[in-house]
Subunit: 252 residues, 2 copies
DNA sequence: GAGTGGTCTAGACCACAGA
DNA sequence: CTGTGGTCTAGACCACTCT
């Protein structure tokens, strides 16, 4: 009996027959993603080989390969010829490439330094409830921090997290690489995010934090980050000074 | 004799052997992309079937399929089960999805209306020569236009084109969908683009065009668009008012 | 019904990593 | 040397489109 369960295949004249349903490789992908979400394998750990998965799920190696290829395209796993298939890790290099799009106009991109200037746990407001799908009265962890690139403080950041997903976070030291923390300590791997960008004039408080005149134009980045399962996990608003930096967006 | 030429395969004990080289499917892709660039098939036209291509190039259908799948992922072709594989077209719907990232904060995204306010053919300055790889003295076609969304003028745009690639363009009516024109009239399909975003304060002239106060924050989008062959084809600077609009960037 | 792309399998061989 | 993922082939059948 296959772990994939009855797939709607029935014997007929000795040949397999597929009834109306999702393709097999998509079902295999679902099973494997489910296991990633459930933490069956830890970040950085190797998955079973294609052959083993094929035998266990009772499909051909080619079908497993197609599922894993699609997961590779979505950066859920990383494959190395001769070594194996590994759960993707949120190291700084990957985040710099995938999630941090601000780069200096001249010079190399680098991961920003961060300084936390305040944390609080408060009741979610209406927009936060809508973003995270929370009920009235739910708690939100708020983090404010300043980030610097090339020694210059250029980002004022406000982060909101549903408190229920991040127990005992406030007391901690907040690391520079938050997404690594989410993954290792809370099992929440950030898989994708939507960013909405606007040009705004800085208010008095943010201008003071960034040590520029009030009214200075800044790039406001509104990011909703989602876990593997598609759930909204983090809402982050970043105010960025872009005199010497730019946001890079590749369209293809 | 195969059109793919000698692929480094030699007979040995009746078995084919692959020597150190690029994978076959990548070579097949190169051949097909080459034909797209050369305009062997027009936008919207059907390519030969997988079977025909496989026979012509002397590879298996699976190898052709892998090449076509990768071209589908890069949006160079579109495939329809039961109908065939077609050269991608730059219609407004596709551009809206792929290249136009500005959307209203509330309501549906829509393709902007455009009004050309000036064109000129002038000598390329140093930054234009660098962007397009032109020699000193090369000519540049410059287009200025205003674009509106939901009846409100919110974008002031400056477009620079290497004149050598777009003969007899200035006399024409400039259509709203420029990328469609590049493809149909000049055989230049825009395949991808890099956008660099900054928040800036509008100067007196641009503010007057957009009917806002000088110093109003605007999103400056600096786009370099590339053709199928990777050549820089268009440099476009857009100043966008983002009071009621935002730039959407999906990270995944 | 004929022709297209889509799925699935099976098997062979290659390139690479590590014991 | 063994085991891994990567490439390539061949063949079967399915789902869809058009004539």
């Amino acid at each position: 009996m296959s772990i994939m369960g009855d797939r709607g295949q029935i014997a007929k004249d000795g040949k397999a027959m597929r009834l109306a349903q999702r393709p097999l490789y998509a079902q295999v992908r679902e099973v494997l993603v489910r296991r990633l979400v459930d933490g069956v394998w830890s970040p950085g750990e190797a998955l079973p080989s294609e052959m083993e998965l094929a035998a266990e799920l009772d499909v051909s190696q080619g079908t497993v390969r197609k599922a894993l290829d699609s997961m590779t395209a979505d950066k859920l796993v990383v494959r190395h010829q001769g070594r194996g298939t590994f759960v993707a890790v949120h190291d700084e290099a990957r985040i710099l490439f995938q999630f941090f799009k601000l780069a200096p106009d001249a010079g190399e991109a680098a991961f920003p330094e961060s300084r936390v200037i305040g944390t609080a746990t408060e009741t979610a407001d209406e927009s936060e409830r809508r973003a995270f799908g929370l009920r009235a009265g739910a708690k939100i962890i708020r983090i404010r921090r300043l980030r610097s690139l090339a020694g210059r403080t250029v980002i004022a950041e406000h982060i909101a997290l549903p408190a229920a997903l991040f127990p005992r976070l406030t007391q901690d030291e907040i690391p520079n690489n938050l997404y690594g923390l989410y993954a290792t300590r809370y099992g929440l791997a950030i898989a994708r995010a939507e960013e909405r960008l606007k040009a705004v004039a800085l208010g008095a408080k943010d201008a003071a934090l960034l040590r520029v005149r009030p009214g200075t134009p800044a790039l406001r980045i509104d990011r909703l980050a989602r876990s593997l399962s598609g759930r909204s996990v983090e809402w982050r608003v970043s105010l960025c000074l872009t005199q010497e930096f730019h946001y890079l967006s590749e369209l293809d």
